[in-house]
Amino acid sequence: MLKRPLRLKTITFTFVSILFISLLSASCGRDSGGGGKQLTLAVNAGVEGDALKQAARDYEAQTGVHINIVEFPYSNLFDKELVDLSARTGAYDLIMLDDPWFPRFAGEEYLADLMPLYKKKNLAGPDDDFVQTSLALCRHPYSTGTLYALPYLGNSQLFFYRKDIFEKHGLKEPQSWEDVLQSARVISEREMTGAPGGGRLYGYVMRAAQGNAAVADFMPIFWAFGAEMFDAEGRATVNSAEGINALRFMLELGKSAPPGYSSFNADEVSAHLLQGTAAMSINWPAWIAAFSDPNKSKVIGKMAFTTMPGAAKPGQAEIGNWLIAIPRDARNAEAAFDFLVWVTSAEQLKRSALRGNPPTRRSVFNDPELVAKFPTYPVQLRSLETSRPRPRTPRWNEIENAFGIFLSKANSGELSPEDAMNQANAEIMKIVERK
């Protein structure tokens, strides 16, 4: 019996040594991250992140600064960054972020103020070449506040339509949403067998799946009808007369859309456009290239791209930019800043543009070599310069989700436009008011 404590000691010893070893190996991992010329960069896995990754490799070759790249798929990037920034681990020196996340990150004071870093380098600040609507996204509060990021990729929605079909029926490029509706009706009626293979060619196609999809495709209509999501005091106003009318209009337009559009996402919409079974849509510039790819497109050379139609107000596209920011707890903020300024320079944004990413600088959009390669750049610049951001609120993801659910419910016939907007309004108010 006397020997038992000895055995327990052995067990304790085993426990402690395992713990010790694991702690030791963990701390080793951390040490190697600090000091020296090294940067860690969190990027989106996809075409947007690929260009940044290649730029980082160029930078390494030029300066000898080693850049570790941590890649996450879009659906994980936000939460990985949020968890890391809120735990203040300083794991990343630079993060790539989608602009709707910015108010949350900036509002929680997770990002480094860039102006002191500009001063340290004897620079005045970001130059005037940046598209104003893109740079405005990087300030908190919007447009006027502190600069916490620089814009890297300048997307905004475009209006896609089939110019061959429009010409065939004597229709003009739509200037207003009313034009869109009339043209959609004409095309849906007259093109019963107009699609390649003899199927029906629908006048309009949109994403009305709940969440981001329905909201993104609805906002240009919502804004054009004169509706606003919030009033000056921050109260939700989606159930205004203008808001309800905009949703009614969306349902009207839906009658000229392929059946089942209330569950469509980007893939379905693009498939309809590429297969030639739909004539008009709102879409993002990233899809433009696919229309001239013979492996994907049955409508090569037939698609035209223009700015958003208007209604009571001039048309405005939703802006969707990728930004790059330096976390407040970054270990190498100065070195990170050098890279940030370098990678958002006109020269580097041109290289990024050649890799398929729309720039955020006017000079790059107007570059003759690029315009020759990407004929839609002038339209993209016009759309970007007149675009609007999603409402700047730290709870946007949640608001967008709720709003999208009710838009989808209205489009699938589950709720009337009035009920959908009233319920959406109540739900958005609940999210905004929650402590």
Binding site: M1, I11, D79, S86, E108, Q210, G260, I405
Partner: protein
Amino acid sequence: MQRLHGNNSFSSGGERALPFLLLAPTLLVLLALSIYPLVYAVRVSLQTGTGAGARWSLDNFTRLFSDGFFLSALLHTLVYAVVALSFEFLLGLLLAVLLNQEMRGRSVFRAALLVPMMLPSVVVGVVWRLALNPNFGAINGTLKSLGLNTESLTWTASPRLAFLSVIAVDVWQWMPFVFLILLAGLQAIPQEPYEAARIDGSSTWQTFRYITLPLLKPAILIVLLLRTMDLLRVFDQIFILTEGGPGFATETISLYIYRAAFRFGNFGYAAAMSFVLLIVTNAISLVYIRLLQKQETA
């Protein structure tokens, strides 16, 4: 060396410590991967706000009762579980009984039935998403070529149809599992009671009702228990197939928890909802386990 001297006190002490020593690695892993996250989840669920703004409160739990999305997601989950389980069980039992008889091609049927179960749920989701696409999908394509009007068959786009579609996909994938367990249960039943029943002149139905079912009860309870737990936490197929839509029609509790945590960055609320799911799952499982224990002692 002490053992050779037959030191009794040592060997008994050693034997008592040995199980703990052998369990230690498992316990350590359990501690790191289950207990710690669980305690952490409790902590997070009792906090609102993040970082410096975090404070202790019960808000996450009180919010559950006023959150219409949460309540309808919970309802969807329960309806989904009950309907899918009923179909899976009845079809699985029917097929198990049928394929337990001697018949030609039995082994082919059995093997074919197991294929859906072996596919990852994500693959199942993608396959059915493509097949159910109202315009380009295989199902409407087939129906169209048979001359049917498929205009209103927007499988994942109208709320009721979408709910039925996700249930049908679950039944398609997991009915084979029920079938497999029940078949194993059937084959473990001894032949003697059947012979006795035949001699006593009992009908097929009587044999099934009074011999097969009671003897199959342990297998039935186990399969119901496993399926119920799985159904209550269903995530992957629905996430791929409809992402909870259209609107909120197919949103289950796991999807909503995922959204709250990883899309909205609201880990506290997600943790609170997870505890509700845990309690519901445990309560239902406990009923099955009680029934199972009663069966064993009876």
